[in-house]
């Protein structure tokens, strides 16, 4: 039976409370380390109701500040920027140094004779780097990120994301018409893998998947399917990840609470970042890194994979259909998931909506996730 009420997926109240309680109090994915390269470069990310700026100082340390001017609260900076020497509010040009310290106020002598600049600093947040990713926490004194992910590392893939390369055309961005938890639950639903994705994720042996929770984080690993494994060099879409030796091979697909999925497999490493926009709207951004490859190596491997795929694994889609726009005929597991999530959301307002039963094993993950949400929201 569902743990969370329907309102958890539909009401603005629930949504606002989640933003405050969950997203205002947890470490959240903010990007990849290489997103902020030189001193003065910054990015702004949303953590629930709060917008946070991460900026690199000349000392190579990252700092995180709440993106609001101490004067009248205006947002200081827009999404991304390069080589700032200081942070200036667009409204009245109040200026802060890269440590968040207020350093200048126009017409100070006349307008703010008593204001002591050195006592005013931007509100601080926490920032850290973990597994090649940037993480922020809205609180200035957050417990270390290693504590937040305590025990998770050994259940993740052997990949070294720092070494892998993101190719510019691999970013995937999509707004899904469903609550963010429906997207998360879909990600961790083991039961659906063999059904919704019977013809798109058949490279993996779902029956032998291993999964469970470490704290609030969901860990998942499954081996390669035999046909795929036996013909791996031919079928792999791109170059094999060097650390993915036979000992480790498989797909590591964890969900890091609250809103980041990882997909770490034999040939790529991806982040699946979910941002709640509204009770029934969620933005998903997928970024993928691979082994460094020349264009020629890339073309050669994808061509080989494409040519061999149908002969060994088949290319039928779940529904035979000539409509190229039908997600269920697309042969793309992401399109299948989005379709399922949106269909699920649509039914929530139906007065006849109910859940008659959930799978004992394959959907225990969804029940656990809901229990975690319930605990946070208490």
């Amino acid at each position: 039976m569902p743990i969370l009420p329907v309102q958890a997926y539909t009401s603005q109240d629930w949504f606002d409370q989640e933003q405050e309680i969950i997203f205002g109090n947890s470490w959240q994915f903010a990007g990849l380390v290489e997103d902020i390269q030189a001193p003065g470069d910054y990015i702004a990310v949303q953590c629930g109701h709060q917008n946070i700026v991460i900026v690199k100082g000349r000392d190579q340390r990252l700092r995180a500040f709440h993106n609001l001017c101490r004067h009248r609260g205006t947002q200081l900076l827009r999404a991304v920027g390069k080589k700032q020497k200081a942070l200036t509010c667009p409204y009245h040009d109040w200026t802060y140094d890269l440590n968040g310290q207020l350093i200048s106020v126009p017409e100070k002598e006349k307008e703010f004779p008593d204001l002591e600049l050195d006592k005013i600093c931007l509100h601080k947040a926490s920032v850290d780097i973990w597994r090649g990713m940037l993480w922020v926490h809205p609180k200035p004194d957050a417990a270390p990120i290693t504590k937040w992910f305590d025990g998770c590392w050994e259940h993740l893939g052997p990949h070294d994301p720092n070494r892998l390369i993101e190719y510019p055309d691999t970013v995937y961005e999509k707004t899904i018409n469903a609550n963010w938890k429906i997207v998360a639950e879909n990600y961790i639903d083991v039961y659906h893998l063999s059904h919704l994705h019977s013809n798109t994720l058949q490279m993996y042996d779902h029956a032998n998947a291993k999964f469970g929770f470490i704290g609030d984080h969901y860990m998942f690993w499954e081996p390669l399917a035999k046909d795929y494994k036996d013909n791996l060099e031919k079928l792999m879409p791109t170059k094999r990840i060097a650390e993915m030796t036979d000992e480790y091979i498989g797909a590591y697909v964890p969900w890091l609470f609250p809103n980041l999925g990882l997909a770490e497999n034999e040939s790529s490493w991806s982040t699946f970042h979910v941002t709640p926009l509204a009770p029934d709207q969620t933005k998903v951004v997928v970024r993928t890194k691979m082994e460094p490859m020349t264009d020629w190596e890339y073309t050669k491997q994808t061509a080989k994979s494409y040519a061999s795929w149908s002969g060994i694994l088949g290319t039928d889609s779940k529904y035979k259909n000539s409509d190229p726009d039908d997600p269920m005929a697309s042969g793309d597991f992401m399109a299948e998931d989005i379709y399922a999530c949106e269909q699920q959301q649509k039914s929530l307002k139906n007065p006849l909506f109910s859940v008659v039963a959930t799978a004992q094993h394959g959907e225990s993950t969804v029940r656990n996730f809901q229990k975690i949400i319930q605990r946070w929201m208490k």
Binding site: G57, R58, D59, Q60, R61, P144
Partner: protein, 356 residues
């Protein structure tokens, strides 16, 4: 602050390089607890040389978390009384009077720390630094160390082999960059391919830029001669590192911050509160408060007598004093009336101080 000395026997003397001696002490079981220390702290030691009592502070290079015995390492200083005594005359079995470890230059490392340590050392300044380095490696598995280590040439790098071994053992967490001011072009082993120069403004900025931290919580420890410490600190501050993350220990010679314009009082009447007793005496012009107390056979806590160790700190209750040199107190502490009595000259006719 306990000023009590304990007699400790020398267990071993080793030569890590030609002109330095590592002195290992035997610590009797009943003193184990008292001699617990944080990595970075030092020992105050009393020497009797040519009938004279001399005190010096030496940083412990042993790691308190590695089951290592107490060890200091002393580099020979040309003309230096104590360093030459240790290198030439001190022998296994001799006894020295040693105060329990102390000092405010230390790292408080926790198991769960996710932290990046930046360590800067020149010459024998490596002694407290290697203790911190090893402690981080042993205690805090998520934390990393970047060491920038300056020496004259290949033959003067103290703990070179040990550092090489640590670098291999903790690859991925430990990064060591050597810099030599006068590298020998040829040695018996290999040509120097590392950095050439000194730990100065440019090389420190380059080091920081080349080693961006992964764990974003950072700490900076600097130990070397005054000039180097000042350069490193200045550079780190200019790069935007907050003052409270930077820790400094002064080594080898006095600081370059010596004030020359102190106008001491012609004669000052001193009242000193020490261990519940009140001492009154006169300080002749030019004498430090500590010297005046010692001349009057009063025994306040002290050790290095060069403004470094902070053993002799006292608080001024009435009157004023100025310090010739001070590497051990920060601006706030000085503002609150703390002085190092070994460096303090009274500038008012009356002065009253309290030892802690």
């Amino acid at each position: 602050m306990s000023a009590q000395f304990h007699k400790l026997k020398v267990a071993a003397i080793d030569k890590p390089i030609k002109d330095a001696a590592s002195v290992t002490f035997i610590l009797p079981g009943h003193l184990y607890k008292e001699f617990n220390f944080y990595p970075g702290q030092h020992l105050n030691i009393k020497f009797q040389i040519k009938g004279e009592e001399i005190r010096r502070s030496y940083s412990l290079n042993s790691c308190p978390h590695a089951n290592e015995p107490l060890q200091i390492t002393v580099k020979r200083v040309e003309g230096g009384l104590v360093s030459n005594f240790i290198n030439d005359e001190l022998k296994v079995g001799h006894e020295l009077e040693v105060m329990v470890p102390q000092g405010r230059f230390y790292a408080d490392i926790k198991k769960d720390d996710y932290k990046t340590f930046f360590l800067f050392a020149a010459g024998s300044g490596i002694t407290p630094i290697i203790s911190i380095l090893k402690s981080v490696m042993i205690i805090a598995p998520y934390s990393a160390v970047n060491l920038f280590y300056g020496n004259k040439n290949q033959d003067t790098i103290i703990f070179k082999n040990e550092l090489d071994e640590l670098k291999n053992k903790y690859a991925g967490r430990l990064n060591i960059v050597h810099i030599l001011s006068q590298p020998k072009v040829w040695t018996t082993w290999e040509q120097w391919k590392g950095k050439k120069g000194r730990i100065d403004t440019d090389s420190v900025e380059e080091f920081i830029t080349a080693n961006p931290p992964v764990a974003q919580s950072t700490a900076y420890f600097i130990c070397g001669p005054g000039q180097m410490n000042l350069h490193v600190r200045k550079t780190l501050l200019e790069l935007g590192i907050p003052k409270n993350l930077i820790h400094i220990e002064q080594f080898g010679g006095s600081a370059d911050e010596i004030k020359t314009e102190i106008v001491p009082a012609e004669k000052a009447a001193l009242i000193a509160h020490l261990n519940g007793n009140k001492h009154a005496l006169n300080i002749p012009k030019g004498k430090t408060i500590l010297q005046a107390l010692k001349d009057n056979h009063i025994d306040p806590p002290y050790s290095c007598e060069s403004g470094v160790c902070a053993t002799c700190v006292a608080k001024v209750k009435n009157g004023k004093a100025e310090m010739k040199s001070c590497m051990a107190l920060d601006d706030d502490e000085i503002k609150n009336g703390n002085i190092l009595t070994c460096q303090a000259l009274p500038t008012t006719a009356e002065i009253e101080i309290v030892f802690k």
